[in-house]
């Protein structure tokens, strides 16, 4: 590992100020499961590491039927994964957590860190976008909040500015009759970065879909919303033909690249397969 200076601020103000003062090679440390890998693999120049884990107020998990699930920036993936309430209410999110890295990594990794790293293949982003999650951000000018769908600007890039620290997430409570699915495609059953990830969250009325959100991972510079495919579903009775159309539309909406994990063509066809499977299962799922 390269050397860096280590800081342990006790408040958000102090952390924020450090980040501003120390300049662009100072980085927030949460779980470190991205940050340390990037330092070791020399993907990132780091002069200073600002550990935010001793800042109080970011470790709570609360559930409120009106608001939904709220959790702080320091809550780990494993904490959320093992909560029965999360498994029951947000099976898509729970699945994304189960499929993220290993138990050891999930014991350190924070969900907010997964979001802030802004990898197009990050597993928690598609289900959280599909569920309309909101991210809360401390900025030197005060607190901000924004829909997660608007948070990402490119691979590894977000709307966070120097001195900004994400403090937590709110996932709205699901509508009474809804289905939510996250499907991850990789060549192994674990320890895989998604070749493609598809999240589908549907609100239903019998076999009619009243509202749909589809988020596609690893097929664009950020996780994408397939809004035309969503529009196809809205207010429609779900049939096999419609599902096929939705799959084709999602394929048309994604913009994958070829790399060592898969070709663009393959990714695109997996978007079709996974979207079809996800819509079908989400319509059938009872929640």
């Amino acid at each position: 590992m390269r050397r860096f200076a280590y800081h342990e601020p006790k408040t958000l103000e102090e952390a924020s100020r450090l980040l501003v003062d120390l300049g662009e090679n100072a980085h927030v440390l949460a779980g470190g499961t991205d940050l340390f890998v990037e330092i070791r693999e020399r993907l990132r120049d780091v002069s200073d590491v600002v550990n935010i884990k001793n800042i109080p107020g970011m470790t709570d998990i609360t559930w409120d039927p009106a608001v939904g699930l709220t959790f702080g920036a320091l809550v780990t993936a494993r904490q959320l994964e093992t909560l029965p309430g999360v498994q029951r209410t947000y099976p898509n999110f729970a699945e994304a957590l189960r499929l993220l890295a290993s138990i050891q990594v999930r014991n350190r990794a924070t969900v907010v860190g997964n979001l802030c790293r802004a990898s197009p293949s990050a597993d928690t982003i598609p289900p959280l976008i599909a569920d309309g999650a909101i991210i809360h951000i401390y900025t030197p000018k005060g607190m901000r909040r924004m829909p997660l769908a608007e948070f990402f600007t490119g691979p590894g890039r977000t709307r966070l500015e120097r001195g900004d620290i994400a403090t937590g997430i709110v996932i709205p409570a699901p509508a009474p009759d809804s289905g939510r699915i996250y499907l991850k495609h990789g060549r192994r059953k674990a320890m895989e970065l998604a070749t493609v990830g598809v999240a589908v969250s549907l609100d239903r009325d019998g076999d009619t879909c009243t509202n749909a959100r589809i988020a596609l991972g690893a097929v664009g510079p950020t996780v994408l919303r397939a809004s035309a495919a969503e529009a196809l579903l809205k207010g429609r009775k779900i049939t096999d033909e419609l599902i096929a159309q939705v799959g084709a539309q999602a394929m048309a909406e994604c913009t994958p690249i070829s790399n060592v994990r898969a070709s663009a063509e393959y990714r695109r066809s997996m978007v079709g397969v996974l979207t079809r499977r996800a819509v079908k299962t989400a319509m059938e799922a009872t929640q």
Binding site: M1, R2, R40, H185
Partner: protein, 770 residues
């Protein structure tokens, strides 16, 4: 000295039992010492600066900033190190090595090759100093595939060798009359095959530690399978007598063949330590195990065989080209063994083979479990499956019909003794329920018509030694101590296979003493007899035989000594389970301790048994039966179940043997479906030098494995008939999977890894054609 006869004994006291592996206690408590665990006082950390171009001359290399960096103690470049042309794979008695490398050269031949080395007071400082070394390259045209490298006018990577980027002269084998054979065929199958670049993926990154004493002697700890080879080549290149180089290795974290070379970093570590007069440890990062490790040889193969209607093979014509990467390493051996292997497995009298190894500007291919045979038998076995399809025969029947038999001429050129392959196929067909399963539906769930199942069989044979390519020799010394305990001294490496336990079992069995009384000393070239290295699945076979000879001599010595004490003759005595007694009156006797220890007037005894064994060749056999599931929408293949059936002659330690088989299957599944170390064919860069994108099967990907070990064909050359098992499993599993995929979806693949994309593309192609 004669080898003890394989006298038929129906009861064994130690061999054939899964005794506790003593070395494993240290592994489960964390006490076992691996090289990276050592940290002598004052130790420095070594790091290597690696090239970021694939083929270039170094115009200028400036280390002044690195040398001035606080904490840096030494920097070495090609200007500072001895310039001695040497072998990468230093088998001393091999006919076919290629001397083609320097410790550091003014040329780089692949992306990732070392160009300089740094020693510093901490790993971090050494790492940071690498960035301060300035290298100016004059880039040379590069070739990244054998096709490019073999073109007339292609850039030449080495000045040595036969030219045309060949590592060695082509290996040509001809038996019978191939043209006549094809003329007699009812039909001919012809196909091209190829394979990617699988890596051994041992968990312990390469590591070494060098320390020089005041007398100019180098003590060198290194994670190697062949410590005497490392001693030899270090001594030669550094200009030292063997007595001035001591190589040590205790525990090592896997090697799978690839830790047989003497690596560039090993020389550099020794030189940095000499330069700084401090111990220096050099440990690869995981990334470096890819860049600077050794892969299996990527290959292209063309195979044509003639068949009669009854399934007889009338002729076989094969050409294979191995991609050696930037240096020769084990290419001579791999090319010889791989090419020759195609003379056998399935009988054919008329054979013509041509094998080549070609330099390219890519990372080095070396020795790796399966050594050239993985490649040839992948093609041979798949083409047999195709022949069965063409003939409308069950592939198991066709393979059984053509299976190599006793007396057939083996790839090594001598007649095969014993023939386990038939037994493996027959036995496996039964326990797997091959016929029953293959009558079942390929699409078990009509509601999920995209999910298909298939069943496949793959066969192999593999030599338990490298003869005749290398004339090997196994050595053992057995010392009987005055308390009746026994010390076995062996140079064989303990790379995790349980070899030392097997050797101790063999010693205990031959001595007829309790297993617990034998302890093993290994891994110190100053203390143990010379050893050629742990490779070619030969440790149990070769060193086991030597151990048995040493034990026989020690036993004779003990009986002579007891006779002296009992005032009788040795032939009147017997020893069972460590108790010595008069044959005439079995109730009275003495223990080995009593025989060995001092009594008034008689000092304690000093008994040494020696064994040296020079083997010819024995072959082990295997048939793997697999079940796969193919998702025809995603192209994902899962291996659900494997029944590997192996003939090992005589099993010494059943659990250890099964462990070898299961581990080989894991690697083979990876090679066939997910593992491929990818080099960019534009730049020569490594694209997936890490464990995320180099995808080895993990706990959730592994199928159920029901291992069957047969003792069908004991080999008279091995201890009680024992043969090797280390390499066999990785050879048979590949074609078994490819054949099962064909059975599931009706598509043939001639390459590995078979990726999900390949499956989808092939299914689409099939659909277009129908």
């Amino acid at each position: 000295m004669n080898k003890p006869a394989n006298n038929l004994r129906n009861a064994f006291s130690t061999i054939g039992k899964s005794v506790k592996r003593e070395d494993v206690i240290e592994k489960v408590t964390g006490e076992g010492v691996y090289v990276a665990d050592l940290k002598p006082v004052g130790m420095l950390y070594g790091k290597i600066k690696r090239s970021e171009v694939a083929h270039a001359r170094i115009k200028r290399i400036d280390v002044s900033k690195a040398l001035a960096y606080p904490g840096v103690k030494a920097v070495l470049t090609h200007e500072d190190v001895p310039r001695v042309l040497h072998y990468g794979s230093p088998h001393p008695r091999s006919v076919s090595c290629t001397k083609d490398q320097y410790i550091l050269d003014d040329k780089v031949r692949y992306w990732g090759e070392g160009v300089a080395a740094v020693a510093a007071i901490s790993e971090e400082i050494a790492d940071e100093a690498l960035d301060l070394i300035e290298v100016e390259y004059e880039e040379l045209p590069a070739v990244f595939t054998p096709e490019e490298a073999m073109k007339p006018g292609a850039p030449q990577i080495h000045e040595v060798g036969p030219g045309g980027n060949l590592v060695l002269d082509p290996v040509r084998v001809e038996r019978g009359d191939v043209d006549k054979g094809f003329a007699e065929a009812d039909f001919v199958l012809e196909g091209e095959f190829s394979g990617g670049r699988p890596m051994p993926g041992y968990m312990e990154p390469n590591v070494c530690l060098a320390d020089w004493d005041g007398s100019g002697k180098l003590t060198f700890w290194t994670s190697t399978q062949s410590s005497f080879m490392v001693r030899g080549i270090l001594a030669e290149v550094l200009g030292l007598p063997r007595t001035k180089v001591r190589v040590l290795v205790d525990h090592m974290g896997g090697g799978f063949g690839a830790k047989q070379d003497c690596f560039q970093h090993e020389f550099l570590c020794a030189l940095l330590a000499r330069e700084t007069r401090k111990p220096v440890r050099m440990e690869f990062t995981r990334c470096e195990t890819f860049l600077a490790g050794r892969s299996r040889h990527p290959f292209k193969l063309w195979l044509k065989q003639g068949f009669r209607k009854d399934g007889t093979i009338t002729a076989r014509d094969m050409r294979i080209v191995f991609d050696s990467g930037a240096y020769g390493s084990h290419s001579p051996g791999v090319t010889t063994v791989g090419t020759n292997s195609a003379t056998s497995l399935y009988r054919c009298e008329n054979v013509r083979l041509d094998g080549r190894a070609v330099y390219t500007n890519t990372p080095i291919a070396g020795a790796f479990r399966g050594y050239g045979v993985v490649q040839t038998y992948y093609a041979l076995d798949i083409q047999m499956d195709e022949a069965a399809e063409r003939l409308g025969m069950d592939p198991a029947d066709l393979k059984l019909k053509n299976a190599v038999r006793e007396g057939d001429i083996a790839p090594s050129g001598h007649a095969i003794v014993g023939h386990g392959l038939e037994a493996c196929i027959e036995h496996g067909t039964r326990v797997f329920d091959w016929k029953g399963l293959r009558q079942g539906a390929r699409c078990p769930d009509p509601a999920a018509s995209h999910v298909r199942k298939g069943w496949g069989l793959g066969c192999e044979m593999h030599g338990s030694s490298a003869y005749p390519g290398i004339k090997e020799q196994g050595n053992a010394l057995i010392k009987v101590n005055e308390d009746g305990s026994v010390t076995l001294m062996t140079g064989a490496a303990g790379l995790g296979t349980g070899a030392h336990t097997a050797l101790a079992q063999i010693a205990a069995e031959e001595l007829n003493m309790p297993f617990e009384s034998v302890s093993v000393v290994h891994g110190d070239t100053d203390a143990v007899p010379w050893d050629i290295g742990a490779f070619a699945s030969h440790t149990t076979y070769l060193v086991g035989s030597a151990t048995r000879m040493a034990a026989a001599e020690a036993r004779a010595g003990i009986l002579r000594r007891a006779a002296e004490k009992l005032q009788t003759t040795a032939d009147a005595l017997d020893m069972v389970d460590g108790r010595i007694f008069l044959r005439a009156s079995p109730d009275s006797g003495l223990t080995v301790a009593e025989a060995m220890g001092p009594t008034p007037g008689i000092p304690s005894a000093n008994i040494l048994g020696r064994g040296t064994y020079e083997p010819t060749k024995s072959y082990s056999f295997a048939a793997h039966f697999v079940e796969v599931t193919v998702d025809t929408e995603t192209g994902l293949v899962t291996v659900d179940r494997v029944v590997p059936v192996h003939d090992v002659g005589k099993v010494i330690h059943p659990i250890a043997a099964a462990g070898q088989i299961e581990g080989g299957i894991q690697q083979g599944i990876g090679h066939t479906l997910t593992e491929d170390y990818i080099i960019d064919t534009e730049t020569g860069r490594s694209l997936n030098a890490g464990l995320v994108d180099y995808k080895m099967p993990l706990s959730m990907d592994m199928p159920d494995i029901d291992t069957v070990i047969l003792e069908a064909a004991p080999d008279p050359g091995g201890p009680w008939g024992a043969k090797g098992v280390g390499e066999d499993p990785i050879i048979a599993i590949g074609p078994a999977i490819a054949n099962a995929i064909h059975d599931a979806i009706g598509v043939r693949f001639h390459h590995y890894p078979i990726t999900p994309e390949d499956i989808l593309n092939a299914l689409n192609e099939k659909e277009r054609q129908s």
